[in-house]
Homo-oligomer: 167 residues x 2
DNA sequence: CGTTTGGTTCGGTTTGTTCCGAACTAATTA
DNA sequence: TAATTAGTTCGGAACAAACCGAACCAAACG
């Protein structure tokens, strides 16, 4: 029974790991560490645990744990009379992630505006036949979409910051 | 004057290039090729053009051009009595991109459901103190967000497929 | 036929990433 | 003081990605 749950957990660690590896641009083991910490929850995970469970060397775990702390993705708590560190995810990770999405979208929005303005100059300057001109409607529509998506993710953010929970 | 526009174009090629490099997981030169093709528009771009303008070797351009065609990102047209290929972006690139976003979101949604269900099992099985239990509200809220975003991007897709334009 | 044009293919270099092992440190325990 | 625990640091192995040059090929031209 416990064995089954453990298998399920490790399968999820791998799956979530692959996702985080791409989404957060992390090395494979770093992503698995983060997954494992997320799926272990508030009781926390130790250095040792991860060395044995994730089958990685101490140096690898050490490096990636420090990296994840630098990125503010994880924090640790301690217990009196116990030298180990118990790692848990930073509770504002979700808000961090939302902020990143909003920032990325803002940048894409800027890029669309720049490209649109460039295409407009070309359309005016070079007197090409109508057929060869750039079509600009797409940029407007895409910007509208970005604005909508940004609004709705920002709504989610306020919802979350009011509740204050961890993943 | 023409020199200025050209500078502006190349600056945009680099900027859009960096964006596409990340968004589409392309090699640096591949992303610049795609950018250049996008910003050149319907008159098309040739192999030669790119070798000289992007300052890359023939082999690099050749490989990446073929790769971009395999990915269905670009197509070419020809002119009678002219052996060159004129590359332009595939007009359904935008729809392709939207489909990818929808697919990715669907996968993330699945993942949230799986994680939530795992956390529920743990909450039930291990009789921990209430404080240590997983909080699941976040997953519900995030799924709601994904559903909203998916709906609005699908709306954009229908808007686009009805109009039928290229970037 | 020889040459040019437009492009492909292959082998190799450079560069970067990811992980490991071994040696080390600093605090604690026996 | 010696040994253990908990972790860090450094050098390097192994692998992958990205690009280049040179040799090559096939169609068209002179």
């Amino acid at each position: 029974m416990k064995d089954n749950i453990c298998k399920e957990k490790m399968a999820l660690v791998e799956k979530l790991g692959v996702h985080l590896e791409n989404r957060e641009q992390l090395a494979p083991v770093a992503a698995r560490i983060l997954s494992y910490i997320i799926l272990t929850g508030k009781s926390g995970t130790t250095f040792e645990d991860m060395v044995t469970i994730l089958c990685a060397s101490k140096s690898t775990i050490s490096t990636h744990l420090n990296h994840l702390q630098d990125l503010n993705k994880i924090v640790y708590f301690t217990k009196t009379g116990d030298r180990k560190k118990y790692f848990v995810i930073n509770k504002d990770t979700v808000v961090q992630h939302i902020n990143k999405m909003v920032k990325d979208w803002r940048e894409v929005r800027e890029l669309h505006l720049e490209i649109k303005s460039y295409k407009e100059t070309i359309n005016e300057h070079k007197i090409k036949n109508e057929e060869e001109k750039f079509d600009l409607n797409f940029h407007n529509d895409y910007i509208k979409f970005i604005d909508g998506a940004t609004a709705s993710i920002e709504e989610l953010r306020t919802k979350i910051t009011n509740k204050q929970f961890s993943i």
